[in-house]
């Protein structure tokens, strides 16, 4: 947990879903402009149960079901937001966001600019993303770099229950549109990339102690999960845990940085770290070409070129659709992380 956030009072042990649910609850309690909606969100409480209980508590006008209309859901959210509401829309899987992309890109992300700040779109789109759940090509994608490429929308990706709540509250209260990607592989526990061993539940992890009250984690502040001097590991979402586990297993003194938000990006923390370690590995599940790792790599190279001891490494998904079978051959797990770390640790003279 990072410093500088407000006093949090009593805490309750929560998994990621419960923390996300609690963030919406806190915001709905404080501000009746906040409404949550989406497919199976109201009556059923969300296919992942993220909105469970909210309709009972706040009624059908504040927590409600929509038809299967991604374009309509996001479009309606833009209109509500322009009028001053704080819509929190769920797109059931990030893979279904594409029918609504036009509303997000052409409307939500552009309203402030084209009205010269007169109208804005303070909406939040929550959407589960990422693989490792045998979802195949339509339930596993990581499309985050599509959104960082669109100017005018923020992109947030939590990796723990504590962060999920604080970041979601910040997203809902943010004056601009935010896409909030929820790494569904770690909803119930911090998956470490070893698919053949059971995942520890969140209750065994300190970041499951989630304050009951209101707190916000500022967008644009990374979390240095582990300090180290040998190499900087940049990661987010599920890959934070996969990376941290790989670093422990290899016994390497890496600095592991959980970016938490891709846009705004905490370049200050990244730059300071890479200047210290001289080496950098970027890790994400998304496909490699034009992935967010490409942007990170360019930025690190621009800011830290004279400090780099080795070429920057990227550990990513392959440039293919997400497969139905061979999921673990596809997933960028511990083996690919080890190989990348070994390569980046080779010294410039070529000696390991």
């Amino acid at each position: 947990m990072s410093k500088g956030e407000e006093n949090k009072g009593a805490t309750t042990q929560r998994n990621m879903i419960q923390a996300i649910n609690n963030a919406m609850d806190v915001c709905m309690e404080r501000d009746d402009n906040v409404c949550v909606f989406g497919e199976d969100v109201g009556y059923y409480g969300g296919v992942f149960r993220a909105t469970a209980g909210l309709q009972e508590k706040y009624g059908k006008t504040r927590s409600f079901d929509t038809p299967i209309n991604e374009c309509g859901i996001i479009g309606v959210a833009v209109g509500m937001a322009a009028y001053g509401m704080r819509p929190v829309a769920e797109i059931q899987f990030a893979d279904y966001i594409y029918p609504g992309l036009d509303q997000l890109v052409s409307e939500a992300a552009r309203l402030r600019y084209r009205s010269a700040g007169e109208f804005t779109s303070p909406l939040t789109i929550r959407t589960p993303f990422g693989g490792g759940i045998f979802g195949g090509q339509t339930h596993s994608q990581s499309p985050e770099s599509i959104f960082t490429h669109v100017c005018g929308v923020k992109t947030v990706i939590p990796s723990t229950p504590y962060d999920a709540k604080g970041l979601l509250i910040a997203a809902i209260e943010d004056p601009d549109p935010v896409v909030f990607f929820e790494p569904k592989r770690i909803y119930n526990g911090p998956f470490d990339g070893h698919y053949d061993t059971p995942v520890l539940p969140w209750s065994k992890h300190p970041a499951s102690e989630v304050p009951d009250g209101h707190y916000a984690i500022p967008l644009g502040k990374a979390n240095v999960l582990r300090e180290g001097s040998a190499v900087t590991m940049l990661c987010y979402g599920t890959m934070v845990h996969v990376t941290a586990a790989a670093v422990e297993e290899l016994g390497i003194d890496a600095e592991v940085i959980d970016l938490r938000t891709l846009l705004p990006l905490d370049m200050e923390t990244i730059e300071a770290s890479v200047k210290k370690t001289g080496r950098c590995v970027i890790v994400h599940e998304a496909t490699r070409t034009s992935g967010f790792g490409a942007e990170l790599s360019a930025l690190v190279q621009e800011r830290c070129f004279y400090h780099l001891e080795a070429p920057i490494e990227r550990v990513t998904g392959y440039d293919t659709p997400y497969p139905h079978s061979l999921e673990w051959a596809y997933f960028p797990g511990p083996v690919r992380l080890r190989l990348a770390i070994e390569r980046v640790m080779e010294d410039v003279s070529g000696n390991v």
Binding site: I68, N69, Y98, T138, D319, H324, S325
Partner: protein
């Protein structure tokens, strides 16, 4: 229970009280809603021969037993991820597809696609092996439960994105017309999918260009946990084509003979160049939306009462009985089908996974 379209069941909504228009204004009151264009004939329940009845029975039973087995394999962890069973809806795919001309007509549907594949007589082994993600699967393990295809049968897939297949269907119909091959496209989608905006873009184009397409709404009353009346302003879905001038028929989708009868009318309409038609098949899924759905949004009693009152397989058994088929013969068929399904399951469990190199094939023609 086929109904003629445009017979409004509900009283028209009252419009807010308005001041009567000034007397002098030239009055043009709207003419009463009368059909100003041709309508399809009222479908009859199909009269099937004994052989046809036996064939429908076999096919529906194969789908049911196959799906039951798929559910078991899922429970054992042999099928991963998403798996949507067709149990309860068998009469729809069998009734409609039995009327098609397999040398000309094309079919496309969503992710609940095992039944449509089986109704074609495709080998259950390669379908089951696709579910388990094996190289011998019909899509080489690349598609999985939701994404299956067959060039041979002109089956253009299983599609995981709700509603996306409907415009593709209009495209297939466009190609049929363009080529002049006499083929018709059958495009299935669910009651939930019927709310996607792109469906209506597809409707408009299809009618505008008089495309040979039968739009089929499989109304099983639920889209995941959302019932039709909680998501649809017009819940009589057969009327959804009206504003595009596409006629609609509402059909009992639990009776294979009613479905087949409707297929005849729809095919006549479309093949004679009159453009698209919309069929709403009222049906029901007995199982959860997918294997991971505890189905808490409806009562056990609701499911039980549909099963008891209108199960499509029980219904055809009665027809068979009336046609002189003995209970023993029906049991023998069931046994035979169970053996076919068991064999498919063994095949799907024992055949190898694809080679990891296959991850990279079929992304584009060349590899980069």
């Amino acid at each position: 229970m086929a109904k003629a379209p445009a017979s409004p069941k509900r009283a028209p909504r009252k419009s807010p009280a308005k001041k009567p228009p000034a007397k002098s204004a030239a009055r043009k009151s709207a003419a009463p809603a009368a059909p100003n264009r041709e309508r399809p004939a009222e479908p009859d329940r199909y009269t099937a021969s004994k052989d046809e009845l036996l064939e429908y029975y076999r096919q529906m039973l194969l789908i049911r037993r196959f799906e039951e087995k798929a559910g078991q394999l899922y429970g054992l962890g042999l099928i991963g991820g998403f798996c949507h069973l067709y149990i309860g809806q068998e009469a729809v795919a069998v009734g409609l597809q039995s009327a098609l001309d397999n040398d000309k007509d094309s079919v496309i549907t969503g992710y609940r696609d095992h039944g449509h594949m089986l109704a074609y007589g495709l080998d259950p082994k390669v379908i089951m092996a696709e579910l388990t993600g094996r190289a011998a699967g019909i899509a080489q393990g690349k598609g999985g439960s939701m994404h299956m295809f067959s060039v041979e049968k002109r089956f253009y897939g299983g599609h995981g994105i709700v509603g996306a297949q409907v415009p593709l269907g209009s495209g297939l119909a466009f190609a049929h017309k363009y080529r002049g091959d006499g083929g018709v496209c059958l495009a299935y989608f669910g009651d939930g999918a019927a709310n996607q905006g792109q469906v209506y873009e597809a409707f408009n184009m299809a009618e505008l260009w008089k495309l040979p397409i039968i739009f089929v709404i499989e109304n099983n009353q639920y889209a995941m946990g959302t019932s039709v009346n909680r998501s649809s302003a017009e819940d009589q879905l057969y009327r959804r084509g009206e504003s595009f001038r596409i006629p609609g028929l509402q059909i009992n989708g639990m009776d294979v003979l009613e479905v087949r009868g409707a297929a005849e009318v729809a095919l006549d309409w479309v093949r004679s160049g009159k453009g698209p038609i919309l069929l709403e098949l009222k049906t029901y899924r007995y199982r959860g939306h997918s294997m991971s759905d505890p189905a808490k949004y409806r009562s056990r009693e609701e499911v039980q009462s549909v099963r008891e009152k209108s199960d499509p397989i029980e219904a055809i058994k009665k027809e068979l009985e009336a046609a002189g088929v003995s209970a023993e013969d029906m049991k023998a068929t069931d046994k035979e089908i169970k053996a076919i399904v068991a064999e498919a399951a063994d095949f799907a469990e024992s055949s190898p996974e694809p080679h990891p190199d296959e991850l990279y094939t079929d992304v584009l023609v060349e590899q980069y």
